[in-house]
Symmetry: C2
């Protein structure tokens, strides 16, 4: 069991009409002039942005707006946000949207407290020490960024589209407003991507060699089983408040570290996927589904017992005590079956709509390993050659 | 499903040697002059207090000490702490001990930010609006006060020994240092009391009419099953780090509200118990075990399905679909069997060592209902007459 720190200070306001509390929350958390940050037109069309404008105006809270955040959010937009905040003296960033918008807001907040180039923090040239306060109004449950210490940005400026993360305590949202009704209009595919992402946030923490924390396991397994039960039902009933609410809250629980206390997370699948969605601009959740099974089969012998536990406790596979590897493999296959049942790809061809080339695989592995100089993952430490092997397996997977 | 707020901002530092981080944590959270608050001699004998003195002195953090907190902590000690802090200009309270010490520290912190009599806040004459910062070094896992918003104090000044609670966001510890090794010396009986308390903190939230939050249920049920598995094992192996660590962390999870998101807690058993431990000065956990089964049998028809779910999902009772009441009753009985297996009483006679008198029962119900003017609980709202009935059932229970 690993020593751990658990720190999830975000104040979560969850439920119908929770948006009405935004002005009071902003004042409580010290905002004086706010950047309202968002993505495309959906927050406008849904009436959420107009509502927030009205609430802030009525409360006398000055604000500026910056929209246009894209999925796999771009560094160039982050720079625009930093410049706007500095020019207008904005001291608090309110993200309205999903993980991409929240991550873009976090990166802007880093830049406001760092004198150098903000990308330094993402490529390891400087350490994150402070950030301006950020909060969010969540509309897409998935990324978990509303309670996490993480943030991922894609560098769109040099044609390489490197996707890198930077996080820490300063990245925690001060508050998160979550109204499940705001997620009713989320299309089935994006809902499924979100469900995949919350499964993976839990599984990245679950596949660990620090596997003696029964209580953490029990919570993680309960979360995984419940999300698998809810997933197909919420896709079939997109306007069911109860189902949407539980999926929304599951996304936060999957990434606020409650399922990682005492374990060392792996994160290899996430890092391998970042290259995929960086290169092909596919949805992060779909990319995770496309690669996880190959990762799992490749690494399972590092701790086969863990995969057996996963198969039995999470996937409900009968334990064949004389054939642990068979049990483990059936658990992996059943997870892939689940992904396919909610419309997710379980191979790269289906993900990107054509066969990936060997050159593309080599390029992704080269980028993911920083030119062969670094590794990914903890459950099995992946070198460039391992990354090539996993991408090749996923290229052949159906 | 109820709208909810989830806010658990306490920074938890968990593991071996975690005490070494105390000076840095105090500085990070703004302490300049600290009250070190503790109970009896065990923190001294174990070497924990000497270690803290050394750490604070080395770090140049001035401090004063106040010991002598008793179980079911007293208002008179709270007043002593408030006076000492004011006299010495102490601005941060570090509780070293278990729930009683932390609650005493919280009450002192309330008093430092309230101009009137601190008891006003506990008897409903005034509202808690602010408190001085509190943190803790936890040595007894049970109460969950290290992450909760609650605090319970006994008024020892007028001979009535009224036990009342007062809480809210200001009552959250800034940080909690938890080293499972500090709990090795905790005797079996107190360990069992702690296990009962963490079971009950989860069950008070679980027995709710807002019973459509599958994800909250799944976490609560996982926690309850795991604690029941760990309980007898940790009592048999008090020096097992892995077991002690999980029990310690379970105590925080049981009371940081993660198992209460979207539900309305009951808290009837807790409130009925407060009169018992107020009158007889018994351990809170033992008092809960002595009364819960009677509460459960008395209220079960308010939502029998919930008791069936508890019996099946938590207690592992086979579901007799044609006899839900039988299934529910077997679940309650099996819970009581568990309590007895770890040495807890399941009736008042065993708890207090003699038969309770009718006069004592009437007095407790009269106090618990504030002279017949108020009610307890939510699963079933309990009036004075219901309280008498439950105490009578518990008086006859073995």
């Amino acid at each position: 069991m690993k020593d751990f720190k658990y720190y999830a200070p975000t104040e979560v306001i969850f439920g119908k009409n929770s948006e009405e509390q935004i002005p009071a929350l902003l004042k409580k958390h010290g905002a004086t002039k706010v950047l309202v940050h968002f993505g495309g037109g959906s927050a406008e069309r849904s009436g959420l942005l107009p509502l927030i404008r009205t609430l802030l105006t009525q409360a006398g809270i000055p604000f500026r707006e910056l929209g246009g955040v894209v999925p796999n959010p771009h560094l160039s937009k982050v720079r625009e946000g930093i410049a706007l905040c500095k020019k207008e003296g904005l001291d608090f960033i309110l993200a309205v949207g999903g993980g991409s918008v929240i991550d873009s807001a976090k990166a802007i907040s880093y830049g406001l407290c760092y004198d150098g180039d903000v990308w330094d923090l993402f490529c390891g040239k400087a350490e994150l020490k402070a950030a301006a306060p950020v909060a969010c109004v969540l509309t897409i449950p998935a990324a978990g960024s509303e309670m996490s210490e993480g943030c991922v940005i894609t560098n769109d400026e040099d044609g390489q589209f490197l996707k890198r993360s930077c996080g820490g305590d300063p990245a925690r949202c001060r508050f998160a407003v979550m109204n499940p009704e705001r997620t009713y209009t989320l299309p089935a595919y994006q809902t499924a991507c979100g469900i995949t992402d919350m499964m993976m946030h839990t599984m990245e923490r679950y596949f660990s060699h620090d596997d003696d924390m029964t209580i953490t396991d029990a919570l993680a397994e309960a979360l995984l089983r419940t999300v698998m039960d809810l997933g197909p039902r919420v896709i079939a009933n997109p306007n069911d408040y109860r189902l949407r609410a539980q999926v929304m809250w599951a996304g936060s629980l999957a990434h606020n570290d409650i399922t990682g206390c005492g374990t060392t997370g792996d994160w290899g699948t996430h890092d391998l996927e970042h290259e995929l969605s960086g290169m092909f601009d596919v949805a992060h959740g779909a990319g995770l589904a496309a690669i996880w099974g190959s990762w799992a089969r490749y690494v399972r012998h590092e701790n086969l017992t863990r995969f057996v536990q996963f198969a039995v406790n999470v996937m409900g596979v009968p334990n064949d005590f004389k054939d642990p590897d068979g049990t483990a493999l059936r658990g992996i296959a059943k997870m892939e079956e689940f992904y396919r049942s909610i419309g997710m790809p379980t191979g790269i061809t289906e993900l990107i709509g054509r066969e990936i080339t060997n050159e593309e695989i080599l390029e992704m592995a080269h980028k993911a390993s920083n030119g062969g100089t670094s590794t990914l993952g903890n459950f099995k430490v992946l070198h460039e050659v391992d990354m090539v092997a996993i991408y090749c397996m996923a290229a052949k997977s159906k």
